[in-house]
């Protein structure tokens, strides 16, 4: 056994410890190790370092991690996730159409006087109102962060809708 053999084998010992040497190389290294206490000690040290790294404490992700990810996805959903709007409209569309049809039937059945009163009521309902729950108040709450981020997707800007829905 010569020190030249040790020098040649030194770069191979880490892969040997990692079980990454092919069989022939492995046999050659083990034949050397049988007669070389210095290299055996080196193998032990390499294994020890590997074990030290493996024993480094692992950290637990914070409970907020998943929520933070979904918030980022809701803030900027990828194109394929916007398909959710399509699905939502496929489900919600027929319901809205039925409601609109019923409203039309009801309106047609009213006498001319009652139609006037109904129109007046609609105008009153459309007037700005400072009461809580009005559109202005909701928009304001949204700007102040009063609306949860998850709700923002329920009112997408036109640019967020897939082209087939525009």
């Amino acid at each position: 056994m010569t020190s030249k053999d040790c020098e040649t084998l030194a770069p191979e010992l880490v892969a040997y410890v990692d079980g990454e040497q092919p069989e022939t190389e492995r046999a050659r290294i083990e034949a050397h190790l049988d007669g070389c206490p210095a290299c055996r000690r080196e193998v032990e040290r390499i294994a020890e370092i590997g074990a030290m790294i493996t024993r480094l404490p692992r950290i637990e992700p914070s409970p907020e991690l998943e929520g933070a990810l979904w918030r980022r996805l809701e803030d900027d959903p990828p194109a394929h996730a916007r398909g959710r709007w399509r699905r939502a409209l496929l489900v919600g569309g027929p319901v809205l159409a039925t409601a609109a049809g019923l409203a039309l039937v009801w309106y047609s059945s009213l006498s001319p006087g009652a139609r006037t009163r109904a129109s007046a009521g609609r105008q009153v309902a459309a007037a700005p109102s400072p009461s809580p729950g009005s559109g202005a108040a909701v928009a304001d709450a949204g700007e102040k962060g009063g609306i949860e981020p998850g709700l923002r997707l329920a009112n997408p800007a036109p640019g967020d809708l897939p082209p087939e829905l525009l």
Binding site: V14, G19, E20, I53, I59, R72
Partner: protein
């Protein structure tokens, strides 16, 4: 002592995570949630070994899963899911540590040892730890280890963490780093030699 890791890679079709990803591609968001639940802890830890900061590691893990989510619609299984996932994670971590403001780039090793010692004491309090020399030595070792890891060249650090901490074979590491197996062998060897030099007093 020896880990027989020269095993053939699982084919994508036999990888349950690939099947989850294909379900996600088909529109099943629950499959994405399952993947997140299964792998987010490992990705946070991988990033933590890389950047040495818990908040930054969590942000990087978010970046990684954002990329997975965004790639969902056009996902094509070509490797094990984890190989693909760690390729994304490695790129995210490399981009992070290459940023000029990354602190490990500018701080000397001694300061990093101090920093990582503080982190070890704050982040990993072990109520069952024995007070005294062995506990102190354990914290010292961890602090030194994290500091040396932070000092390694990026590609050596990536190869070492993927191989030793995540238990990947050299072949899997090569796929994750988009390099050859012999390059991985060399990277892991050089990283181990550096650790051996700086941790000599603990061996």
């Amino acid at each position: 002592m020896l880990k027989p890791r020269n095993l053939p890679l699982a084919t994508p079709a036999s990888d349950p995570d690939v099947r989850l990803m294909l379900r996600f591609r088909a529109g099943d968001e629950e499959a994405f949630r399952e993947l997140f639940e299964k792998h987010s802890g490992a990705i946070v830890n991988f990033a933590y070994h890389f950047v040495g900061s818990r908040p930054r590691a969590e942000e990087l893990a978010q970046d990684v899963f954002l990329q997975v989510y965004r790639a969902g619609a056009r996902y094509e299984p070509q490797a094990k899911f984890t190989t693909w996932l760690y390729r994304i994670a490695t790129n995210a971590c490399l981009n992070e540590v290459r940023r000029p403001e990354h602190r490990f780039r500018t701080r000397p090793l001694e300061h990093q040892v101090e920093d990582s010692r503080e982190r070890a004491e704050i982040a990993f309090p072990d109520p069952h730890a024995v007070r005294g020399e062995s506990a102190l030595a354990g914290r010292e070792l961890e602090a030194r280890m994290r500091a040396v890891l932070g000092e390694l060249p990026e590609n050596q650090r990536a190869a070492l963490v993927l191989s030793r901490v995540e238990g990947m074979s050299y072949r899997e590491v090569a796929e994750a780093l988009a390099c050859s197996e012999s390059a991985v062998k060399s990277l892991v060897f050089r990283a181990t030699a550096t650790l051996r030099k700086h941790l000599a007093e603990f061996l």
